[in-house]
């Protein structure tokens, strides 16, 4: 692998990865499978996660307060007689992951899509949790 200093400088993903490793971000609780990216825009958060090969019906998403949990499982490919593995690198098994957000989530407005093995959950902030402007009389 040959990467120059300039290339490293120009690649924001690599830099972010490095920062995350250094900080070992725990604000999101846990770092087990699946890996997630969390995107924030003021009062809305989007969680994306790469979970290929899952039946969308079996993905369970639950929201409580400021945490969102995803769980599901990826069953192993069944092998019959006269079949053998040359390589076995794919991840199989049960997973469960909890992500904590900096605000309370409006559970009724959460939207999730699963496309091409990428899960995307949109989580708006609860109205009651938003800051209120107080007028001075």
């Amino acid at each position: 692998m040959t990467t120059t200093y300039l290339e490293r400088l120009l690649d924001p993903w690599r830099e972010l990865d490095r920062m995350n490793r250094l900080l070992n971000t725990d604000s999101c609780g846990g770092s087990e499978y699946p890996a997630v990216n969390v995107w924030i825009n003021g009062d809305n958060a989007v969680i994306t996660s790469e979970i290929p090969g899952i039946d969308r019906e079996t993905i369970d998403i639950s929201v409580s307060g400021n945490t969102v949990s995803l769980s599901g499982s990826r069953p192993a490919e069944e092998t019959g007689e006269e079949e053998s593995y040359h390589r076995r690198e794919l991840w199989h098994g049960m997973f469960s992951k909890t992500v904590r957000l900096p605000f309370s989530i409006d559970a009724d407005k959460v939207k999730a899509t699963y496309r091409n093995g990428v899960l995307r959950i949109s989580l708006p902030q609860l109205e009651a949790d938003k800051p209120k402007k107080i007028n001075i009389n």
Partner: protein, 135 residues
């Protein structure tokens, strides 16, 4: 980071020394399962973000290359707060032996998993020779 994450972390594909890519993107080596069955060899490759139109399979001589191009899932107007995985294309190359019927390779993509069926050539199929005793 725990060990469990290390296991599932994506590996970046290696480039030959002095070779650069034209697209400014990361390229990962997809994890694969390769299963040998009676009549074919089946390859499963995890390529989340890739669909049937964005995967290229090329066969040049004995080199089978899979390349998957992704449109990164980036929500509009949002800033990345936590990044546990990077996004990029996928590439991996395998050498095939003569025993693959190269004209009948099939590929399908479903839920970000590529499935390649490499049928064994007629001559490579195992034949069971019945052993008969002296009658």
């Amino acid at each position: 980071m725990t060990d469990t994450l290390k296991e599932v972390q994506k590996k970046e594909a290696e480039l030959e020394k002095g070779v650069e890519r034209t697209r400014e993107t990361r390229v990962y080596t997809p994890a694969v399962d390769i299963i040998e069955k009676k009549n074919d060899i089946v390859v499963f490759a995890d390529m989340p973000g890739v669909d049937e139109n964005s995967v290229d399979i090329t066969l040049e001589k004995d080199l089978l290359t899979i390349y998957g191009k992704i449109e990164p899932e980036v929500p509009e107007n949002h800033k990345l707060a936590v990044s546990e995985y990077g996004m990029g294309d996928y590439q991996r190359t395998f050498t095939l032996s003569d025993e693959i019927d190269k004209d009948h390779i099939q590929a399908t993509v479903r839920d970000g998993v590529l499935r390649l069926v490499l049928p064994k050539a007629e001559k490579a199929k195992t034949k069971k020779i019945p052993v008969t005793g002296n009658a």
